[in-house]
Assembly symmetry: C2
Homo-oligomer: 87 residues x 2
């Protein structure tokens, strides 16, 4: 939807927009309604997807590769890694 503009803007400029939306998401998580939170989550995901498009990473394939067979740590679909571990 935004590929032409984002390619013209470049990764750095597009990443700045992602950061702006991350800030708006943080604010919505603190003070927003559920509808405002949902809209900010959508914006963050949209900017993430568009940066992936610019650098030719397939976001759906990336998530399948890393998490499609369960937690990369313990292999479970409900993670049972020690709580002190990374996630």
């Amino acid at each position: 939807m935004y590929l032409r503009k984002d390619v013209a803007r470049g990764v750095d400029g597009t990443f700045m927009w992602l950061m702006e939306e991350i800030g708006e998401l943080a604010a919505a998580l603190r003070h927003g309604t559920q509808a405002e939170r949902a809209a900010e989550f959508a914006d963050v995901l949209a900017w993430l997807a568009t940066i992936a498009n610019v650098v030719e990473v397939d976001l759906a394939e990336a998530i399948l590769q890393k998490y499609g067979r369960g937690c990369p740590g313990c292999g479970g679909y409900v993670c049972t890694c020690p709580d002190a571990g990374k996630p």
Copy 2:
């Protein structure tokens, strides 16, 4: 996959992990291979999804609501908003 841990950690603590992954994505965009970039995109999306789960926002529904009918600005599936506009 990580809901139990993330609920226990809370939104603030989970958001910090998202920020760490955002930093790793920025580094991978600058210096990483395509495989490293893909893995970092997956991590950012995973943390975004898990925060959405914690606050009971349906991420798929959120993106459909905001972008499912095209660009919220111009309505096009290829955005034709003025380049000076927000995205």
